[in-house]
């Protein structure tokens, strides 16, 4: 074989090697790595109750939660009242009322409605009777609504019937804030 032919072959081999090297370098210039994250999650079923201010009612404290507060403010048989508190006067009592909303959401249930019941955590203050949608509340749970749909703000009217008798004569203590807690339970039908 001639020397020039040998040189040509050697040059071709070098070129091939260079090309292969370049290809390898190119393949390695964008290496990648992968990982997998497994997330374990079970979707259960449940109900969630949330209390909201009603557009026509007083503004709730902690509205949008399941533990809200409703302040009637200072109430009297004849004086002015807080915004969105209404009053009716009776022979021996007056009633202040305001609406608020309850929204019960459900997931993972075939139930389409719920039963709302309510009770007082402790007896109402002397001279005061609390009513929810005309149901007089006691420390025993009572049904307020038997078939209410999920997912909507349902307006309920809370009323406080206040005796006009003087404190000590069956009437409420005046001048100090009276507090009651209403416990609600929504049960899927």
């Amino acid at each position: 074989m001639k020397t020039s032919t040998m040189r040509t072959i050697r040059f071709a081999m070098l070129l091939a090697l260079a090309a292969a090297g370049a290809a390898l370098a190119s393949a390695q210039s964008h290496p990648s790595a992968s990982g997998s994250l497994t997330v374990l999650l079970q979707n259960g079923s449940g109900l969630q109750m949330v209390l909201y201010s009603d557009p026509s009612g007083v503004t709730l404290g902690n509205a949008g939660t399941s533990a809200a507060s409703l302040g009637f403010g200072t109430v009297g048989a004849y004086g002015s009242l807080a915004t969105n508190v209404t009053r009716t006067n009776g022979a021996s009592s007056f009633t202040v009322s305001t609406p608020f909303d309850i929204n019960v959401q459900a997931n993972g249930l075939t139930s389409t409605s719920y039963t709302l019941s309510a009770s007082l955590a402790s007896a109402a203050p002397t001279g005061v009777t609390l009513q929810l949608d005309s149901v007089t509340l006691t420390t025993t749970s009572q049904t307020i609504q038997a078939s209410q749909g999920y997912g909507s703000n349902i307006s309920h009217t809370l009323s406080a019937i206040v005796s006009t008798a003087a404190s000590g004569s069956g009437g409420p203590t005046t001048g100090t804030q009276l507090t009651s807690t209403i416990d609600f339970v929504a049960t899927a039908n």
């Binding site: 109900l47 507060s69 459900a106």
Partner: protein, 194 residues
Amino acid sequence: MHMQTKLISRYWLLACAALLLPLTATQALAAANPSATGTLTVTATVTSSIQLLFNTGSGGVTLTGANTNAATLAFGSLSAYGTAPSNVTISTTSTLCSNCFVASTPISLVVNQADGSSSNFTLTAYASAPSNGEVLAVGSSGALSTSSGTPTTITSSGAYGSGGNTLPVYLGIPTATGNNTGLSDTINFVATAN
């Protein structure tokens, strides 16, 4: 043969259990009649209060807006010597004013108390400024003050309750007042629990 039957039964039991397990798990997630709870804390401060209402007095002129705290007493057409309107008494000898005649009619003033323990109330009143020299009076107080700052005390022991307090309202009209002169005056009452 008996052994085979036993084995087949066991396989069936296992198969059934395998089928039921996922169902049981799903049912555990979907608890029967789930419930949700909420609490609403209700607060109110009760304050004692009183209310003042006007009612038509016994034998008095019928009030417009009776049983409210903003009523109208219309005496009608008055003259010193003519016929007095129904339920209106005319006096030309009253000491309320000089050179005048006095028309009067009773009203019932009701003050209700709620959540209070006061036993009576004090009633004060003042009249608007006269337009034609007229004079107003309530009860036995004499001519009413026309100043809101120094109202006239009508009574210091008014009785609460729907029975009301009958009080005559007097309107003294100067005899010099022109014929067919319209008069309109306002009496502002304030009841304060004692």
